[in-house]
Symmetry: C2
């Protein structure tokens, strides 16, 4: 695990003077600001920017990009800093462009099930502001992430099995380019076949092609009747196979999560809960009527029993359900709390659903054989699962074993048609894995990067190896 | 309405000799072959290719593209010819690349809910081959379209309100490029954040960036209990407003179609049915249990009554439902049959859902004021609707009025945040509208075209103005 990356001289005194003259107090060069913009949630490495700009408007973003082009300094978009692959780490120094102050809800069209927001707004805050309309925004990564950042990594979370990822929930973007233009991509209509799909180029581009300054996202009616069924299984594989059966029954679960016995243990310690420490599925179902919900639950229970599971408890109350999903969202922090001084590394492989049981079992075997304490959780309705590894930052021997297991997992995943990242993105850490997954299109990706950012100023060092 | 476009000398005798030498009997230069590859379903114009190549394998496609690059002739992908905007018309001559013989289902992974197919396979044929597995592919444009063509226009249809468009249902593509390479874009996993999204660049590109040689698509469990509710309304606006209410009730309809009184009349004449000739919604609901379905239907009926609608009849039987949806899918042909000698022009504007009632009412007023016989049908859960205009091919005065109304509809749609095409694509006919909708990104689209097809050989004259 590297620590702080040395800062190259990429932002000249003249550029700094120009930034100060233009932005005044919005520019911050204090050590505290530089340090807080030098790392992300993964904490695997850090690097200092030369300055942090707290933008308030789209015009601030445009002006910063114009100055960057003029003076040739890097620009790294930043909001919450909750990325997990080093995406916001300014490895080449330059300007950290902090859009967290741009957090307005600009428009809510309740009858159109859409909202237009600024990129620094977090999804929990959006949900607080629209709840009274009976609507919600469903994409829920564990962290309190910003919508601009979530679009930039194509984030998803527990509800993607029912509502899709950011890609499925962003209708339109405004994006500032390095040439100083602001473009509108996509459409506020729910579907469009109008020309080349530029919107999806910027979703998942991790700020390397442009800076998102505005998003129009889909909203959904809040489901009225909900229940979470918990079910234990003897093995992880049996739990994963049951998840596939549930997906095949057209039950359309709201959430379908796999949590292994180690993660359940960490949650129990961290949250003071007493969940049975066994491979577990948490299955959330919804229906417009309570009678229909009861029927769906009954069918789901049959599938659990047929799959060798022990049907435990169905949580109906909002409080109990909220407690469950909070525990799930805090999985990462529960592991952190259980292992003081350690840092985490989380994977997010995603495979075709029918491959999931074998890949999860393979992963467990490899981690056990390497003597690693690895817990597994997964958005199994999507074929997406996380392994949480942890060790002391300077424990090179353990990290070498972690990386060997990770490498074997990648090989297995790619052989089965899967991807090295289902929702966290590439950032710094997965560039070599991207090269393995998409060897035949790296040249095309580089061509697109050159088209949009010919001087290589936007978030350099990310995604492309 | 233009008739046949003169053919420029874009395919030299030497190129033709090279094609004949390489492909033998797969190459067809008979008048019948050239004529059948010179027009699409819109029949607004035609143009002859110099030759038609009936490809059997991906290698045929690659070899054709290599010869095209060597000799500099245009290549226009073709399968069924059911496009509606002139997409397959070889306006610059050259080679019509007919992939309709590449129609194999290469793999079905039932437990992964996905299938890998060749581009010439039609979606009804895919559905016939997977029905015994309890699975189906939901994207259903009216015509018996090929999956490669559907991906190339980002087609959708009546089920998109529940299952999404081609963009939502294509996981991975193999694409042959003009440089002779074949690339794989996307992933067989259900979600990925691995680098720039190249898959969505090729979806909707209408064969101007590469030729799709293989698709992996999502499959879905066949819904077990279905019902179609028909409801009449006094006005089109009232029907559209009720559709918005249904979307807000979290009923998740399988289909939600608006059909105006003129289209119902055409269907009655064409199919011998006796549907009441009034603005109508056809609402299909599904549920894992029949009791739950009855509850959903009850809620839906309340919404219809609250919206001023007359709740007519609920069709449960497979035969009756099939008859309804066949009537809907044949809407285009019903209008054709009612107006012998006329050709149709259909629009496919899409607006944010809350804008739909006003835009539909505006359209009706404009068409009436212009004295046009225009029928309106719509996938109203998506905000997408079609106006079917028709006239004799040489009736320039009527076509001028049609184009004036269409132009006013575009202005209204763009002002309300909508798109000029929700599902048919741009082709030849909407290039000027694309330029109005995305004036700020045409340069970027041209840059991407130049990156992938520097010599401009792939389907020239389409999409970009």
């Amino acid at each position: 695990m590297p620590s702080q990356i040395p800062r190259p001289d990429t932002l000249s005194p003249a550029a700094l003077d120009a930034l100060k003259a233009h932005f005044g107090e919005k520019l911050d060069t204090t050590a505290a600001a530089l340090e807080s913009h030098g790392r992300d949630e993964s904490r695997q490495e850090s690097a200092l920017p030369h300055a942090v700009l707290f933008t308030q408007t789209e015009a601030d973003v445009v002006d910063a990009l114009k100055l960057a082009s003029e003076h040739g300094f890097p620009v790294v978009p930043f909001a919450v800093g909750s990325s997990l692959e080093g995406q916001v780490v300014p490895v080449k120094g330059g300007l950290s462009l902090d859009v967290s102050g741009m957090k307005a809800v600009l428009e809510v069209a309740a009858g159109g099930f859409q909202a237009t927001v600024q990129p620094g707004l977090t999804y929990p805050e959006l949900n607080r502001q629209i709840r009274h309309l009976g609507l919600f925004f469903p994409v829920d990564p564990g962290a309190e992430a910003s919508l601009g950042g979530m679009a930039s990594t194509n984030a998803s979370g527990t509800a993607a099995v029912r509502y899709g990822t950011m890609r499925d929930n962003v209708l339109e973007l405004r994006v500032a380019l390095t040439n100083g233009e602001v473009i509108r991509v996509g459409s506020k209509a729910r579907k469009t076949s109008a020309g080349y799909d530029l919107k999806n180029l910027f979703i998942g581009a991790e700020g390397t092609l442009g800076v998102i300054t505005e998003l129009t996202v889909k909203l959904w009616p809040l489901p009225a009747n909900l229940v979470v069924l918990r079910a234990n299984f003897e093995t992880l594989g049996a739990a994963a196979r049951c998840a596939v059966d549930i997906m095949g029954a057209a039950l359309q679960p709201e959430r379908l999560e796999l949590i292994d016995e180690r993660q359940i243990h960490a949650v129990n310690v961290h949250k003071g809960t007493d969940f049975p420490e066994a491979p577990t599925l948490w299955i959330e179902l919804a229906s417009p009527s309570s009678a229909a919900l009861a029927e769906a639950l009954e069918l789901c229970r049959e599938l659990v029993t047929d799959g060798g599971g022990i049907d435990l408890h169905a949580a109906y109350s909002a409080e109990e359900r909220a407690k469950l999903w909070e525990a799930r969202h805090h999985a990462y922090y529960a592991i952190t709390a259980l292992n003081p001084g350690h840092i985490n590394m989380t994977t997010d492989l995603c495979v075709p659903l029918h491959q999931l049981p074998e890949v999860v079992e393979f992963t467990r075997q490899e981690a056990d054989a390497a003597g690693l304490d690895a817990s597994i959780v997964g958005h199994v309705g999507d074929g997406n699962f996380h392994v949480l590894f942890h060790a002391l930052p300077d424990d090179a021997e353990t990290w070498a074993r972690v990386n060997a297991v990770y490498d074997a997992m990648i090989t297995e995943t790619l052989a089965r048609g899967g991807t090295c990242t289902g929702e966290h993105g590439v950032g710094l850490h997965k560039r070599a894995y991207l090269a393995r997954e998409h060897a035949d299109t790296l040249g095309l990706m580089r061509g697109i990067k050159a088209l949009l950012d010919p001087a290589g100023l936007l978030n350099p060092g990310k995604i492309l190896p």
